[in-house]
Symmetry: C2
Subunit: 141 residues, 2 copies
């Protein structure tokens, strides 16, 4: 059970923006796309990740002024990534230990997707259903 | 595997506030407690829930003015709850279908805790480890 399976279902597109975008426009982007985090890139390079939590924190610290700060000011610069070959269990562990909900996927040094905590939970439900079915089949034969 | 097990480990305290709190102070509360949502109550009654996503949405729609709106203005009024007897699988399903990350727990008509998507994932990791151990024991005997 690997990250590749999630990517095959949800696709490989990643919503990104540049470090120069204002926080208010990042909030609009998240809202419009109905997502909780955006990857901050410059050309092919990952510069950081900016989540709803970073927005709440910036507002908590800077008040109204937070909204005219840039993504570069408010992002988390250290981004932990995974590969398509990583197991879903490994990604769960990374999310729990690091307290991240979003993990970009890197393949051959290039951005190849993004998995979120909700993606992982959704797959877990599917697995439980499949296991139950296999047990039923096993009992029936 | 029920919600009760999560409550027994993480405790039953729930961070709450009233509908009158300003959004900027809700952001401070979330930041200070390092949590992603706060339950909005009046006396013993649940009025709504306010998450990081609600803050990002309010900013996206209202800009700076969002910060002086109240929790009551910005919260999600329809709160889906669970009971201590519900299975963790059921709560995963509720979170995935409803797109909530936080589900308050109600026991005998009273607030008895709150479980988040991260709580559920953490327990899932523990279960996988336990299963692996049982398989090793089974093989050894
Ligand atoms: N019913 C379903 O199919 C799904 C439901 N959910 C639920 O929605 C709620 C929020 O989900 P979370 O995973 O916490 O966060 P989220 O709202 O950021 O993620 C939602 C979806 O958007 C994708 N996504 C997020 N940011 C992205 C980006 N920058 N580029 C490309 N894709 C991106 C995620 O991979 C996920 O598939 C949770 O309650 C979760 O259970 C989450 C994923 C799928
Ligand atoms: N290492 C650990 O023990 C844990 C790690 N996490 C990770 O942290 C990140 C954020 O976690 P999420 O579950 O999405 O949200 P979250 O940050 O809101 O939840 C963190 C913890 O706070 C608790 N909590 C949240 N709001 C509460 C409230 N109003 N009253 C009482 N308790 C409340 C939750 O039940 C959970 O135990 C995720 O990446 C997750 O994997 C989450 C829970 C435990």
């Amino acid at each position: 059970m690997t990250v590749l399976r999630i990517l095959n279902e949800k696709g490989r597109d990643v919503v990104t923006t540049t470090p120069a975008m204002k926080l208010i426009d990042v909030a609009k982007l998240l809202h419009q796309k109905n997502i909780g985090a955006v990857l901050i890139t410059e050309g092919e390079s990952i510069r950081g990740i900016l989540s709803e939590r970073d927005i709440a924190r910036a507002i908590s610290v800077h008040g109204e002024e937070a909204l005219s700060k840039t993504a570069g000011d408010c992002m988390t610069a250290h981004v932990v990534t995974c590969t398509p070959e990583d197991s879903i269990g490994h990604v769960m562990q990374v999310m729990t230990t690091g307290r991240f909900r979003h993990v970009p996927v890197i393949e051959k040094n290039r951005l190849a997707g993004l998995v979120s905590i909700g993606d992982v939970v959704k797959r877990r439900i599917e697995d439980v259903e499949k296991e139950a079915e296999q047990i039923r089949e096993y009992i029936a034969t």
